[in-house]
Amino acid sequence: MHIGFGQPLLFPIGHDLGETSAPGAGHGRSHFIRRDGDLVEVTRRQFHVWTTARGVKDALDRRRWTRGAVVQEARRLGVTAPGAIVDELISAGLITEVAPGRKAAYRFALAHQLHPLMLGLGNSKDEPWLFGIGFGEQPVLRVRRDLFGIWEWANGEDNLWQACRTYADVEVAAGGTDRDHTDPRRVLARLVGSLHLFTSNSAAYLDVARRSGIAS
């Protein structure tokens, strides 16, 4: 059973660009995250908490990556007052919270986008139901067909919700009747529960949607 059931999940938004000398800032060094096309400078403590929000690979199968999990892990890494930093990052749009339930997942999916950061390595004869993601011959992770499909196609769509709808439409057109694959709401629910697989392995990053489906 997962710990943290019923609490919102936390997701990092943006692409990790690493630590460099800040332009025009003397000899200071900063971490940079690219979010929605902008390079956002964050402090080292903020960066640690943001990185923690990607998830910890080995811990994901036993706990959901909630605020409690992020705060606890950041504290374990030596970050003081991580809860306040989570709030700062949420205000800056670098972390987003997704409450349980379809409505929150839908709003999250309308406003965000998924971008792959690795190559697809296909499936194998022995385990054709799993698809590899990584580089070279050795996959970094292997995922279900629906996750692979969305990982592959999402960045050509306006937002994650549209990606789930397209996936479900293709499935219906191919004659599928399994609602986990043909109902975009179910596709999305399964995706939200698995997104930390991508972020914790740096197999993809989340960003603000190119065209948000939320009316302004």
Partner: protein, 249 residues
């Protein structure tokens, strides 16, 4: 970034995101594949604690290799994907050779392809290979038709090596880039390669006062020439892939 030596040289590039080889299951619809493999014995009953897939009731055979280009999936044969991968450039990075169609043809023959020209024609026609002359007008058309998509995450530079920027995955850098190439990688998710070069040209203008006098477009073209000269290094190390620009990004 290195500058391609001759004006009339035409470089050849792979377009698309590698998705790997696909094993297709027949006759069962792929949609139910994972259901077919659900453990026949529940975990709690299995003394080894591992799921035991049911014996295959279906035939699994190698279909094709897939490359995603914009919103289409391009299927390549084993021979075609070998040529497409060679088009990424020299994997060692040591070879400082301009990667043209002639070089690609030679390399393909060297690894046993008897008539690579026919395959290269087919791949160009299907849009998974594209050619561009770095210093000519067709480079601008190429840059407007394509975009760079970054792969991996950044590890930045270090105090010991301030001009060398690491990119990688799984918590460690695997490639080091110069500052110019790192900036290109940072700026690459733009609408198209031309837009990324415009941004780079804007950055370059503050550092190179002599260039400020030339027109914006000329500056961008110069940057593009250098970018195209460096592109095979980025492609062969898989820190970017080229995709078709679809507009409105």
């Amino acid at each position: 970034m290195s500058e391609p030596g001759r004006d009339d040289v035409k470089l050849i590039f792979p377009v698309g995101h590698d998705m790997g080889a696909v094993y297709r299951v027949r006759p069962s619809p792929h949609a139910y594949l994972e259901r077919e493999y659900e453990p026949a014995v529940p975990r709690s009953v299995d003394p080894m604690g591992a799921p035991r897939p049911r014996p295959l009731r279906v035939e699994v055979e190698l279909d094709d290799h897939r490359v995603r280009v914009a919103r289409r999936s391009v299927r390549l044969s084993g021979e075609e994907v070998a040529i497409w991968r060679l088009a990424h450039g020299p994997a060692s990075g040591a070879e400082n050779r301009l990667w043209t169609r002639t070089v690609l043809d030679e390399q393909a023959r060297a690894v046993g392809h008897r008539r690579p020209g026919r395959l290269i024609d087919g791949l160009l026609e299907r849009g998974v290979l594209a050619e561009a002359s770095p210093a000519r007008a067709d480079a601008v058309a190429f840059a407007r038709r394509h975009r760079l998509c970054p792969l991996m995450v950044g590890f930045g530079d270090t105090a010991e090596r301030p001009s060398s920027f690491g990119l990688g995955y799984s918590d460690e850098p695997v490639v080091e880039l110069s500052g110019d190439l790192y900036r290109l990688w940072q700026l690459s998710p733009r609408s198209d390669l031309w837009a990324a070069c415009e941004l780079l040209a804007g950055t370059a203008a503050t550092a190179a006062p002599a260039e400020r006098e030339s027109s914006h477009s000329t500056k961008t073209e110069r940057v593009l020439t250098r970018v195209l000269g460096a592109l095979h290094f980025l492609l062969s190390h898989h820190v970017v892939y080229l995709d078709e620009a679809v507009g409105d990004r």
